[in-house]
Homo-oligomer: 131 residues x 2
DNA sequence: TCATTGATCAACTGATTGGTTGATTAAGAG
DNA sequence: CTCTTAATCAACCAATCAGTTGATCAATGA
């Protein structure tokens, strides 16, 4: 009876993807998978956790759309989806570039002088006191 | 008495940053902050949650190094740190490019022919059967 | 068929998180 | 000093998550 779904429709995808990368074990798996497909057991080796836990981590990555899986006899090789990673960087860069361009504008406005400004109280940003 | 810290030293930073972006509310805040600094109250407006919850979200972003805060009378404007965002894309791109280059190599190896390969059992990746 | 290997399912526990309400600090304005 | 505004602190609750153990499924080989 809480949290109405007004945030977005595609939010879930980003949610799961960023959440998946928020774990050092899963990031290490991504790093390893970037070098080539691997099985659950291969991915489990570097860690001191059970195979079940590794399987769960991989499921998280899979549910986030970051990896896919195929079948090779008993093995289920995990494959990294580079396109999914690109979607993440695209989201981040979108806002990073906006922020940087704003900073650049401010820079020009100050005449390319950058003193030791530590306490900028919204210099190039008109502050509205609506209330 | 669990999980030895063998994962990495800078893991914490990435942990917190990705975790911070794994929440739609915090992502919306990042999007808003890319347009300019804002206060807690301004950031709280679009959401149906209390100011305290918003304050916590901002603390998460701050602890992740994604935003900084200054002081302007009673207000504490939040400022987006574009460099922190860039560090995230740098991490992702690092492994994305490795995976893509691997895929490109495989592509050339197949003579630019891409049939309906669905079950690639590690084609350009020597698989060791140790046991 | 039976044993083995790779991987998952199910149930449980401990820790963490997202959210709330209520009280409190900090800075001005009267 | 008192009041208002901005924001945080503290305690608490419900839900989720990371990890475990134990049992089970699926594919292969004897």
């Amino acid at each position: 009876m809480e949290h109405d779904a007004q945030v977005s429709d595609t939010a879930d995808t980003l949610d799961r993807a960023f959440m998946a990368l928020a774990d050092p074990v899963r990031r290490a798996m991504v790093a390893r998978l970037s070098r080539g497909d691997a099985t659950v057991n291969e991915l489990a080796e570097p860690f001191a956790i059970t195979k079940q836990a590794v399987s769960k981590h991989i499921q998280v990555l899979e549910h986030a759309g970051l990896v896919t899986r195929s079948r090779d006899a008993q093995r289920r090789p995990v494959h990294l989806d580079a396109a999914a990673l690109e979607r993440l960087t695209a989201w981040i860069d979108q806002y990073r570039l906006i922020a940087e361009s704003r900073f650049r504008q401010l820079d020009e406005l100050l005449g390319a002088r950058i003193p030791n400004q530590q306490k900028e109280n919204t210099p190039a940003h008109k502050k509205e006191e609506s209330k």
